[in-house]
């Protein structure tokens, strides 16, 4: 049928394949493909993805994408800006939030015009629905702002973007793992990737590189994130000595299926579902007497964990609470919440119509990541831009989400900043020259792979990873104290030592996923260390970061972004030896920090 794609290679030296593109995009999720749609028509572009594009985790998103279209009721992007800032517990850069809210409208319309099948109003316009934290007139009442396509908004976004990439003939390198960013003279010179199918190494020389590699929820055990969300992109940038921003802020969504972490949308509680402990008590009444189960995500998550910690958890191991939907009736469940109903039935064998569903908070979204400015340009410190290096999506931190992201704002983020990254990269490469590659740009990756491949170590990847995830869940999840963080710091240090002795069993070249899991574990360990280190340093509670020993927000000392740098000996076991923390001021334009009350 279709002529087989042959990607132009410039040369093959010592088994390393060289390619040259103006722009290389790493990651083919929502952010990566949105960037590609801007970049490909304007410059020679390649998209490298470790998964087939449609496998990216953007496809898992259900709820919707926020934009003040005002299709069903009065709304304005200013209100959206305010909600975003307040939702992020005022750690949001307000100029960025303004861009997000303002460009949201175009972002949604772009998607519709590209073919996204949004649900419609009776007049045939894009339908909108309510979502947590989105209000009219600065908190007066909930507003219908989330544009949605059934409960498959993320799926539709991912498919639509992929379809348009097909239309534009975007060049994809699927199942290529980017493992290194080649920097030269403070500028990106290219990306080194490992081809999963063959085990060959490819060097992509590029004038501009865009990272869009998604999140890193897999540092936790219980997570709504995919197995493949191991934070490779963030880790690659970190290893280059570039900073990471606000890494301590991770969002825990209250209602993940217990033990599995598969997400049950906030909409369930919106429809009236109730959280109960083992004795059937509606415990949220005790913690939040007025709004009860509809308290913000961070608060609910914290209360659930407390119930379990105090022995009131349900189940054989008393390790979860129950989401009771039985009083909603089959009708509401089948029509309004069909997906979660199916998930509960399929994965827990629990029918929400007749039984309460076991739930526990699940690691959901990384607010932190690679710092960028509003043009999606990566920063090497508080303001210096790395020319030609861009980041967008969950791996980036603009920061539009501050310390707590509002539901539906991430699908928005990937579209707005993905587009900006693409456009700006095109503009940049018009005038930029290729940065020369060093003599052997693949040296680092070749070494990494060879070491891993040939290691005769005794440690197993799965064992280390499980220990990391278990300990992160126990110590750095919803509740954090200096003690728990100190403990997990020690654990990570130990794991990093043992990681040096890790071995893979698969010694083949082709589709060596064993080897890949080992490399991914390296990124997980690095990032977990930064998360914990940053968290220890923030002695306050704000948004997704809840310190039991410092339960209050402390604007005086901590109204600022954390910037973590890799310095010194990256392999030393003591984090303090190689992580340096700094601060970056929060951009405040219009809204002064207030106490966050709903």
């Amino acid at each position: 049928m279709t002529a087989e794609t042959t990607h132009a290679e410039t040369k093959v030296v010592d088994g390393v394949h060289y390619h040259q593109y103006d722009i290389v995009i790493v990651g083919a999720g929502g952010a990566g493909m949105r960037a590609a749609i801007e970049a490909a028509p304007g410059a020679k572009t390649a998209v490298i993805s470790k998964l087939y594009p449609t496998r990216s985790h953007t496809g898992a998103a259900q709820g919707g994408m926020a934009a003040a279209l005002a299709n069903v009721e009065e709304d304005s992007w200013e209100w959206h800006t305010f909600d975003t800032i307040k939702g992020g517990d005022y750690l949001v850069d307000q100029d960025a939030a303004e861009i997000l809210a303002k460009e949201a409208i175009d972002a949604v319309i772009d998607l519709e015009n590209m073919g996204l099948p949004f649900n419609r109003t009776p007049e045939g316009k894009i339908d909108q629905r309510r979502f947590g934290g989105h209000t009219r007139d600065h908190g007066k009442a909930p507003v219908r702002r989330a544009c949605y396509a059934a409960d498959r908004t993320g799926h539709m976004i991912l498919q639509t973007l992929f379809q348009n990439c097909v239309k534009l003939g975007v060049e994809f390198y699927n199942e290529y793992y980017a493992l290194d960013l080649v920097m030269n003279d403070g500028k990106p010179a290219g990306v080194v990737a490992y081809e999963l199918a063959t085990g060959e190494i490819h060097v992509f020389q590029a004038k501009a590189v865009i990272f869009a590699t998604g999140g890193f929820g897999k540092i936790f055990k219980t997570t709504s994130n995919a197995h493949t969300l191991t934070g490779d992109g963030v880790g690659i940038v970190w290893r280059k000595g570039l900073p990471l921003e606000d890494m301590e802020f991770f969002q825990f969504h209250p209602t993940g299926l217990a033990g599995l972490g598969i997400l049950l949308t906030e909409g369930a509680r919106g429809e009236g579902a109730i959280l109960r402990n083992a004795s059937g008590e509606r415990f949220m009444e005790r913690y939040a007497p007025t709004i009860k189960d509809l308290a913000p995500r961070d608060i609910v998550a914290r209360c659930m964990v407390q119930e379990v910690a105090e022995g009131r958890g349900a189940g054989p191991h008393k390790d979860y609470v129950l989401l009771d939907c039985t009083h909603l009736g089959a009708e509401v469940l089948e029509t309004k919440l069909p997906d979660i109903t199916e998930f509960a039935r399929t994965y827990l064998g629990v029918d929400p119509v007749v039984e309460p569903v076991p739930v526990m908070p699940t690691a959901h979204y990384a607010m932190g990541g690679i710092p960028t400015n509003n043009d999606a340009e990566v920063l090497s410190d508080n303001q210096t831009v790395v020319p030609g290096l861009y980041a967008a999506g969950e791996c980036a931190c603009v920061s539009v989400h501050g310390s707590n992201r509002l539901g539906t704002n991430s699908l928005l983020d990937i579209n707005v900043f993905g587009k900006r990254a693409g456009n700006n990269a095109v503009e940049y490469v018009q005038t930029a020259e290729f940065t020369p590659l060093p003599d052997d740009p693949a040296a680092f990756v070749r070494g990494l792979i060879a070491d891993m491949h040939d290691s005769d170590g005794t440690e197993r990847v799965a064992v280390l990873r499980k220990e990391l995830q278990d300990e992160m869940d126990k110590n750095a999840q919803v509740f954090r104290t200096d003690e728990s963080l100190e403990h997990v710091t020690g654990v990570i240090a130990g794991l990093r030592e043992r990681y040096k002795n890790v071995a893979v069993q698969d010694k083949g070249k082709r589709f060596n996923t064993d080897l890949l899991e080992a490399i991914e574990l390296g990124f997980l360990l690095d990032l977990a260390e930064v998360v914990v280190y940053s968290a220890r340093n923030r002695k306050e509670s704000r948004g997704g970061h809840m310190r039991d020993d410092f339960p209050k927000r402390d604007d005086e000392n901590y109204m600022k972004h954390t910037m973590a740098y890799l310095s010194g000996d990256a392999h030393s076991s003591d984090a303090a030896d190689h992580i340096r923390l700094d601060w970056k001021p929060v951009v405040i334009t219009r809204y002064q920090p207030m106490e966050r009350k709903y």
């Binding site: 049928m1 449609t54 496809g59 590209m114 073919g115 099948p117 949004f118 493949t228 799965a462 698969d506």
Partner: protein, 252 residues
């Protein structure tokens, strides 16, 4: 493929693991001439998924076992494979829904070139997907800054086929596709359907023309394997029939 049994496992079932035998069709292109079957015994809980079993094998017994997976809850389409002779997603197939008194057979999907263990080359699959022009082609420009208008009813016509996650469970279950792999296959037709019946699209004719081909819809022999294999519950054969009728009518 909604879950067959809804009865919740008795509590004791849920907490006592039992041993399940998996017989997996292995193929390592570096050493094997032909695929071979290999047994693994795994401790499982009733609520575990086949994907969990594969992970347990990979992580605890044999690191070289190779398969694709990502989301682990049936939305990314990575892990279509043949489980006890039928195409399913490993992450959506629970142990309790299988007969564990007998070994569970796991093998790669059929009809696409086998690369390693449970991994096949998906490129021919995506090639026929691309062939049907799976993207919106509208001749009229919408009002600047506005959406194209589409009624709720117009949107409903193609709703079913928008659910596709391109997992290939359907195409690789199709007996016609197995014979020579030239047939476009149900997934490509489903994705063509999604645009042919979208009121905003103006190029339905072109797609109908593409599918009115030797390797197009007429090769479908209504065996319904595709419909039964689809993890998203898409009525694939019905969609194919609708495309056939649109071709006969000459318009959607």
């Amino acid at each position: 493929m909604s879950t067959a049994t809804l009865d919740a496992p008795a509590d004791s079932d849920a907490i006592t693991p039992f041993t399940v035998t998996f017989i997996i069709r292995r193929f390592d292109p570096d050493v094997d001439e032909e695929p071979r079957w290999q047994d693994f015994d795994v401790e499982m809980f009733a609520t575990d998924r086949v994907l969990d079993a594969l992970h347990k094998i990979k992580w605890e017994q044999d690191g070289s076992l190779t398969f694709r997976r990502s989301c682990a809850h049936g939305i990314c389409g990575s892990d279509a494979m043949r489980i006890n002779g039928r195409n399913r997603l490993a992450c959506k197939t629970l142990i309790k829904d299988l007969d564990i008194s007998k070994p569970i057979y796991v093998e790669a999907i059929k009809g696409l070139p086998l690369e390693k263990d449970l991994i096949v080359d998906m490129e021919p699959f995506f090639a026929s997907y691309r062939e049907v022009q799976p993207f919106l082609q509208a001749k009229t420009e919408p009002e600047p800054g506005k959406e194209r208008v589409q009624s709720v009813a117009q949107r409903a016509i193609f709703d079913d086929t928008t659910k596709c996650i391109l997992c290939a469970a359907c195409t690789s279950s199709c007996p016609v596709f197995w014979t020579d792999g030239q047939y476009f296959g149900p997934a490509a037709i489903v994705n063509a359907h999604r645009f042919i019946f979208d009121s905003r699209d103006d190029e339905a004719k072109v797609r109908l023309d593409i599918l009115n081909d030797k390797e197009g819809v007429w090769r479908c022999r209504t065996t319904f394997n595709c419909t039964e294999a689809c993890p998203r519950g898409i009525e694939v054969t019905k969609a194919i029939s609708e495309v056939k009728q649109a071709i006969m009518r000459g318009k959607p």
